[in-house]
Symmetry: C2
Subunit: 206 residues, 2 copies
Amino acid sequence: MPEATRRAVEAAPCGGATGEHRRDAQGTRRLLLDAASHLFAERGYERATVRDIASRAGVNQALLFRYFGSKKALFGEVMARGGQEQLRATPPERLFEVALRGMLAEGAGPGTDRSLEVCLRSIGGSDEIGEALRGLGDEYADVLATLSRADDGALRGDLALSWLLGIGLMRVVVGKEPLASADPDAVCRLVGEALTALLEGLPKTE
Amino acid sequence: MPEATRRAVEAAPCGGATGEHRRDAQGTRRLLLDAASHLFAERGYERATVRDIASRAGVNQALLFRYFGSKKALFGEVMARGGQEQLRATPPERLFEVALRGMLAEGAGPGTDRSLEVCLRSIGGSDEIGEALRGLGDEYADVLATLSRADDGALRGDLALSWLLGIGLMRVVVGKEPLASADPDAVCRLVGEALTALLEGLPKTE
DNA sequence: ATTATCTATAGATCTATAGATAATGC
DNA sequence: ATTATCTATAGATCTATAGATAATGC
């Protein structure tokens, strides 16, 4: 009886019935998306195989292709889903700190956005992957750029985003000490002071 | 006659004879190292295949394994060779700017160190790769940490290195505009001012 | 004779697909 | 009957190795 490993039961919170673990295309889609989101963040695009993802979702690997067409398309949906919410729900002047704290927090609850972590671990993948990553980066940088009134505000925004991603890179991906174990408050304070000077730097003219 | 594609002739600057393109184990080793250094920097560890590397070196692919044992071992030699020189030849207080300018410069001559670029593009590879990358990062961070006299100087050094790598990530790997096309002097000035505040920040006590 | 180089191929992955099986809705 | 799910496998890579070939040094 090879169906000993049925998908986890607690999922599929859409239908309303509680113990659902039967044929449910929508639910299976969501299970795959959640599993992919987790594994892409943990291992990056290339190292998270479709079999890993399907296995974590408790779902047959062929269904991933039935519902998403390809691994890249699945990645695209994961990236499109995440990030956007945090980006729109956060006022610009708080975006940097919120994103930084999200990166500094350990494996926080399922509510936290791991899109930036996915970006960091998927660098160097195929060009299409790079495109998907650039999209999210652009949105963040655009918001950060509005914080500076200098005429090179866009460049300053890029530099702020660069620091954010660099910190995530060293802390989360590389695990560099002492940064990896540093107190989030201390990191925020040090970075915040330096960045305030950068973003609120006096415009050249005025 | 399948030997139409002999290795490039201008190489092997060791023996002294100019037109050398015959059997030369040392020369072949060097050709492979150079080709690997270039391709790892351009595509990262995973995407640069052993066949690509051997092909660029104008050398049969089996020789890579004969002289280095494995692709990972070759990567280790590339990482060990690069970086160290720049790291030791540069006085600590100039290291950040030199490394930053090296990253901001386009495909500079063969003299420039591309180790940091290799790091950035190889993130997310296997764990052994991560180890090799961490080694280089540690050395840079150690030097940068000496610039700050604050009692959390090591953390400040990590944050400086994070920014350096983040800028390289956005500019070189992702190609984020306007950063990617920005004037190196402008970038250095903006980052330098903000970092001076961070690294020379007053110690908490004294 | 030694050994640098090349040919051919084993062996391990991984994505993706074709077609069989079986659970649901009418 | 419809369609969600599963089995089996094609097909494409990629690293690595065993053994053949051929250019050098004595």
